[in-house]
Symmetry: C2
């Protein structure tokens, strides 16, 4: 029996119509089966629009849904039958190998921590963000799970990111950089100066030292580690900058006849540009360090993004990411 991926069918801004389309595409293209978790009636209705028979797609009914604005702790306490909870319990009970949700990020994270628990030795699971760079892709973690960190947490993030970069992103000897405010070891804040020493001492990592904010998008390191506060600020600024530059260029291109003609001709280029910048193309952000594969997708995810997230989850399973993280943490 192949890999089974549980997908929160209710997650994402457009719900089952988009999640189901992504699941059907994944089941058709890849050698895996998908369990759609959520309101059975709605899922069945969405499934009927696709020739999905014989594709290995199952439904697991979950009567409750967590709203995007709902408090994660309230959802955790009150909604024991939510699609998020039910999906993660499938992973816990080994009825599924991985869980993907584009629902309320805080609720997915909190429920995964409680339901699955951390892998042996992992003190702080982290959200890993796949970012497009001039050289391809890098992974940045923690992107927001832990606002306050100790140096040893950053070392664990590096180990987990290194495993993901090797096993899923196909990087041979991933370079690991510490996000800081100067290249020299002496630069940075108390946290990064201490973390620098630990990263340098670890013999299993290809640590290249500090990387500055400017180098995040140039691809200076395959794995970039930082505390969750800094990582989340970085992520949101990159998102905001993409919006800012796109809007500015559109405004400028709209000025004058030549600009308008240019805008028309450049439309194809714009589309490709947006695609590179739009990280939903990369499927989602893995929550690394919990006892199970869990990928948090963006609320705006398209069917293609869900398909990509399902593939990424399957690759985590096939390449034994959990086992490699456990080993890596054990020897560190």
């Amino acid at each position: 029996m192949g890999t089974r991926i549980a997908l929160d069918a209710m997650g994402g801004d457009r719900g089952p119509m988009v999640t189901v389309e992504g699941a059907v595409a994944a089941a058709r293209e890849f050698n895996l089966s998908v369990v759609l978790v959520g309101n059975e009636e709605e899922i069945s209705k969405a499934l009927k629009q696709h020739a999905a028979t014989g594709l290995g797609i199952a439904i697991r009914h979950a009567p409750e849904t967590v709203g995007m604005q709902e408090s994660p702790s309230a959802a955790l306490r009150k909604k024991k039958q939510s699609s998020i909870r039910v999906g993660l319990e499938l992973v816990k009970n080994r009825e599924a190998d991985a869980f993907i949700s584009a629902g309320n990020t805080g609720a997915v994270m909190a429920t995964a921590l409680i339901t699955l628990g951390p892998l042996p030795g992992v003190e702080r699971p982290a959200i890993a963000l796949i970012i497009p760079t001039l050289k391809g892709q890098s992974i940045l973690l923690d992107a927001g799970a832990n606002a306050d960190c100790k140096a040893r947490h950053l070392l664990q993030f590096a180990i987990m990111g290194d495993v993901y970069a090797r096993q899923v992103m196909g990087k041979r000897l991933p370079t690991v950089g510490l996000l800081s405010i100067g290249e020299e070891e002496s630069k940075g804040n108390e946290l990064t100066r201490e973390a620098f020493k630990g990263l340098e001492e670890d013999q299993t990592l290809n640590f290249i030292g500090n990387v500055e904010g400017r180098e995040v998008l140039t691809g200076a390191a395959d794995v970039i580690v930082c505390d969750g506060f800094t990582g989340n600020i970085a992520l949101k600024i990159i998102e905001g900058a993409a919006e800012f530059f796109t809007r500015l260029l559109k405004e400028e291109l709209g000025k004058g006849l030549a600009g308008m003609a240019g805008a028309l001709l450049a439309r194809g280029a714009f589309k490709r540009f947006k695609k590179v910048v739009d990280y939903t193309e990369y499927g989602g952000a893995p929550l690394l360090g919990v006892r199970g594969i869990c990928i948090i997708s963006h609320g705006r995810s398209s069917a293609k993004a869900f398909k990509n997230a399902i593939r990424a989850a399957a690759e985590c399973v096939d390449n034994k990411v959990l086992e490699h993280i456990t080993e890596g943490i054990a020897v560190s």
Copy 2:
């Protein structure tokens, strides 16, 4: 006698040729005089290329220059006759009202702290960054002077930023935001949660709560406060993102005939775009909280950037920024 601005003529990637051009333009356009500090021979040579007689431009010889890669502490110890040191001493001795340098940022900062010292009550002077937004301009501080901060430092940054936004940027009741990772008061790290309380209690500030990284470039707040580590990461990521998006668009626009034609037609738009993004247009980053006006300009500053920095420095003097900061700190 009018406002006298001391300019480090040796600072910046292209030295006296560019700094002198900026000084001449400022002396011509604004009602002020400029003291060019640095190698007298080189400055005189550069001055001869401009019809600068009678413009109120003086030279103060400084035989030493601090290199861009030089250690700030070594420069401070060994180069007592550097253009940075001599220029800041002009301010200290009231022979000049302000100092501007595009030289080694660390050396300018360290020398300003030692030579001028902090204003009464200011615990940590901060670098303030003027950033372009969709609404105009905001000021973000600290952009890198203090890697580790306490909550009370962030409150002082807010007070200093508020004064600058009112007195120099012409904002009436500047909104003040705390850079954090969620809008609610409970979100953030230990530092921002504590700083939130202090900012909320201060009756002189128009505090609007947390702002997320995504909102920095939309202009959600006129004054954005954060610790110097986070601020420097933010600044460098914005710089890196501008380079990334410009490069990506150029590559995409270069693809195919339509793309190339589009690129040609869009060239004017590109130029305007770069101008908005290029923060050197805004003159430089004021170092707020020291006993004297000091503006740190970017190494790549153009003559126009130096002219703008000179104007900003003069506005700080005319609008009594130092006095207002001292008062603001005293009542907080």
